[in-house]
Amino acid sequence: MSHSTLPAVAGIGLRAPHYRQVLDTLPPLGWVEVHSENFFDGGMPLAMLQRVAEHYPLSLHGVGLGLGSLVRPDGKHLAALKRLVDAIQPSAVSEHLSFNHSAQRYVNDLLPIPYTRAALEVIASHVAETQELLGRAILLENLSSYVEYPGNEMNEGEFLAELVARTGCGLLLDVNNLYVNGENLGTDVQAVLAALPAAAIGEIHLAGYSERDGMLVDTHSQPVHPGVWQLYAQVIEKLGPRPTLIEWDLDIPPLDTLQAEAAKADSILQGAHHDA
């Protein structure tokens, strides 16, 4: 099952301040990614996205489904995602391996799940249900976390590998998230990387963190940091070229700043050994 038909070049996260410029000038971009929830239902956003999809390979990236919530996924959210996927026919569909709700409430964030066998059973069923409904495999993204479940039985990489084996899903490797976890939580970055099944990695994310009270916070508000570029180069050296996204969500700079970051990623991708 193919998870992604994105080209193995750099793309950018397309956000509201750049919609008009991109549609008016059609700049050279390898591909673009948008947040799925911004295009639910219809109206101007969906019409705009359909025009974008005529010119660029497109990836839909969900931030609100919370597949790692141990209660059932929200049927209304899933139905809206399905309508969007059917309307756009994107090159990739991704979600985070995170939770955001209980039966009582939502917290609109990407919260870290317990990496246990019991949680794996439930979450694998949510992933399978989503893929069945959408009629395609999705990519699941690793998180930046600031707290951890105290009873973890495996690392995030091992958990993701289990999900791949059980559901046939693909993976979205966020190199910045991994780096940030290494710094904040002391996560063994190399152990997580080693656990991930290389063939399942269909996309890579790069972004810039900011520093707050001695903590690296994954704010997507900065250029990609040197340590993250270094880790990215190591990942690409090992995996070969993979579709790579520059994400920027706060204090969004001019489009050419994003293009310059994408060009840096492209130069690393072009230098990689093609052993795949």
């Binding site: 219809g42 917290v107 964030d109």
Partner: protein, 249 residues
């Protein structure tokens, strides 16, 4: 409930209830929890700021931030889609004592919510007047119409259309608060959300139709609101303006 599900539920409650101290058994790092609490508070407040720019201009940034903080403390998010958050802000303002000096603010907020929902409403095909050619004239009074989800009619004792339009970029604010009430039509045309002033008769007609009443009943309401209401012209206008998506007999 499994220990994992209990932990998830407890973490969600701790993030949303910011004054509650964490239970040691959850194994939560205090600085880590603070990151999520900060994201939560700012995320909801920013969402309100985006949906309610006119209210923000009216009260100023500092006061709006206070309103947004109070609202977000009292109103949990009920959806993974943040675009669905904030719908009760108008009701909150109506009952919140510090906002009482601006009695029109609640209705301006309700109008802004209608604009926000219109922008994200589902696409629906509007009917043209040709759709009624098969209906005999004597049955017109029994017709029921469905308006698009992107359309809202809102009546207020305050001049909300003037207030809203006067706060749009490039417009001068010339509002006489004593001028009396206004009815607003929020609708989407070619993707763009517009707010227009409705005559009392047209507002009564649309209100009535939106509640599922028949065209006959709606026409009565319209005539009561506006003695020289022209029903035929209004009906034609509904179709040319794309305000009818379905009809039933």
């Amino acid at each position: 409930m499994t220990p994992e599900a209990r932990w998830q539920t407890a973490l969600l409650e701790l993030i949303a209830r910011q004054e509650q101290p964490p239970d040691d058994t959850l194994g939560l790092d205090a600085a880590g929890l603070a990151v999520y609490r900060n994201n939560y508070r700012l995320g909801l407040m920013d969402t309100l700021k985006m949906i309610y720019p006119v209210c923000g201009q009216i009260v100023g940034e500092e006061f709006f931030t206070g309103l947004a903080r109070e609202y977000s403390k009292r109103n949990a998010s009920l959806s993974g889609n943040l675009h669905e958050y904030g719908g009760l802000f108008g009701d909150f303002l109506q009952g919140f004592p510090p906002a009482q000096t601006l009695p029109y603010l609640a209705d301006v907020a309700r109008l802004e919510w209608a604009v926000h929902r219109s922008y994200y409403a589902i696409d629906q095909q509007a009917l043209t007047a040709v759709a009624l050619t098969g209906v005999a004239a004597e049955h017109y009074g029994a017709l029921q119409f469905r308006l698009p989800d992107s359309c809202t009619v809102l009546s207020s004792p305050w001049p909300i259309v003037g207030i809203w339009q006067g706060h749009q970029p490039g417009h001068a604010l010339e509002v006489n608060l004593d001028a009396g009430g206004e009815a607003a039509l929020v609708q989407r045309n070619a993707g763009r959300v517009g707010v227009t002033l409705l005559s009392p008769g047209m507002a009564a007609l649309l209100h009535s139709l939106q509640q599922g009443e028949t065209l006959g009943q709606a026409a009565e309401q319209a005539l009561q609101a506006e003695a020289d209401f022209d029903l035929q012209a209004a009906l034609l206008h509904l179709f040319t303006d794309g305000l009818i998506t379905e009809f039933h007999l």
